[in-house]
Amino acid sequence: MCGIVGLFLKKDALHPHLGDMLTDMLITMTDRGPDSAGIAIYGEAGDGLKITLQSDTPEVDFAGLKEDLSETLCVPLTLKRVDTHAVLTVPIQAKDAAVAALEDRGLRVMGAGTSMEIYKEVGLPKDVAARFGIREMGGSHGIGHTRMATESAVTTLGAHPFSTADDQCLVHNGSLSNHNQMRRTLARKGVFTKTENDTEVGAAYIASRIEDGTPLGEALEGTLDDLDGFFTFVTGTRNGFGVVRDPIACKPAVMAETDDYVAFASEYRAFADLPGIETARVWEPEPATVYFWER
């Protein structure tokens, strides 16, 4: 199964409540997948680039990391530690050097962007959200995922969201059946994945299309031709989110819109606590159709 939620706030006044609202939505979806949970949250864009990194041994790896990186990169930087994750902020032009320095140290880069931070771990949504203090996080929009693992092991790297490009990420409900073939195709282009996971291949496919200069909307349309299997994809972007479902569309999806927000979820249940849901416009996105809600 898997459960997906997304929330896009139209009014600035609601921004401080984003993490709280998104956490409630994701917890409601817990019984669609209890294996791992993750959230991509889009906060205020600062001057620098935020790189979310993860370590299984944060006590060891994060100790002295900031000083160490300052010395290696020779740029002004900040490091905010959150449980097993940390957000490193560096000048945008220092991204490649920073990512290389982090990977040299065996740290996992979950994603990067001017506003996006990604938090994901094995466990129930309520526990994962509490570990990272998601409820306290504000922002303009975010997407979340709770996983019932099918195609690969229950690990942090197998958790969603997967980053597809700076400030872009992907969550998936479904399973892809041609992911091994696509993984080989992408490898021939020099695009490598880190796990056996099918969704990571979907994310890598979209990332590679974007790298080739394809706009995100067209890259999502490309999934309809090039990926075989079941999927409802939600992609987070700097300005909002996009949705695409495979032509068979057996993986559920429902949307709600009011003057205050646009919400996405696998099931209506996730909307039950949203303000004004009784009078919201509620509908199902059409199959094989790419939608975007952006500011």
Binding site: P252, E267, Y268, R269, A272, V282, E284
Partner: protein, 227 residues
């Protein structure tokens, strides 16, 4: 009016209460408040009882319904009125995928739109959809009537048996072995009755009828690609 609050009473207790009330055959009225999209509300009712759900429901609402009248004052999630036997299930809003799947009898009245696979494998149920229906509706439908006041999506009636499909609007595409058929007086009479039962404001003359060409009933090697 008996009111059951789904935010205070467990789903199992709500369904047990409704099923017991249905079994008494006293045609009592119940109201379920705060459904909050929960799954499997008002399933397995076997007797005359009237249930009104004040809000939207999740998966499998009113499944296996027999004799009961269930109204959802909101939208319904996937599989509403699945395998319904008789009675009436009314959805004031939209219904998600496979509404009325495998239904044997009774009336499923959807005031909004229905999603994909509406009436899949229906076996005698009547379904009236006041809005549109999604792709692959009435797939392998065996018996009963599907009436759509709006438009139908792709592959309507694919691999259809003897169910009759009536669509007032456009049909995006017909599925394998589904063809348009002439509307005869008995069909107008049937439509008039179903539209009246559903409280639908439409004239029987505005509908086109689709049914099985019966070409797939016996295996023919030339049709291998159609299966």
């Amino acid at each position: 009016m008996n009111v059951l609050d789904a935010s205070e009473i467990s789903l199992r207790d709500i369904n047990t209460t409704l099923q017991n009330a249905a079994n008494t055959r006293r045609n009592e009225a119940y109201e379920i408040v705060n459904p909050r999209g929960s799954h499997a509300i008002a399933v397995g009712l076997d007797g005359p009882i009237s249930v009104t759900i004040k809000g939207s429901t999740g998966y499998y609402c009113a499944g296996m319904n027999k004799d009961a009248s269930v109204t959802v004052e909101g939208s319904a999630g996937p599989g509403v009125a699945e395998n319904m036997m008789s009675g009436v299930v009314t959805i004031e809003g939209d219904a998600s995928q496979y509404a009325g799947a495998t239904g044997h009898g009774g009336l499923l009245n959807i005031k909004g739109n229905a999603s994909s696979r509406c009436g899949i494998s229906m076996k005698g149920i009547d379904i009236v959809v006041h809005g549109n229906i999604g792709h692959m509706s009435a797939f392998m439908a065996q018996k009963g009537n599907l009436v759509v006041l709006g438009d139908a999506g792709d592959a309507l009636g694919d691999s259809l048996y003897e169910a009759q499909l009536f669509v007032r609007g456009s049909v995006k595409s017909l599925g394998a072995d589904c063809v348009e058929k002439e509307v005869r007086p008995e069909h107008l009479e049937l439509l008039a009755d179903l539209l009246k039962q559903a409280g639908a404001d439409a004239s029987p003359q505005e509908f086109r009828r689709y049914g099985s060409a019966r070409e797939l009933y016996n295996f023919n090697i030339d049709h291998a690609g159609e299966y």
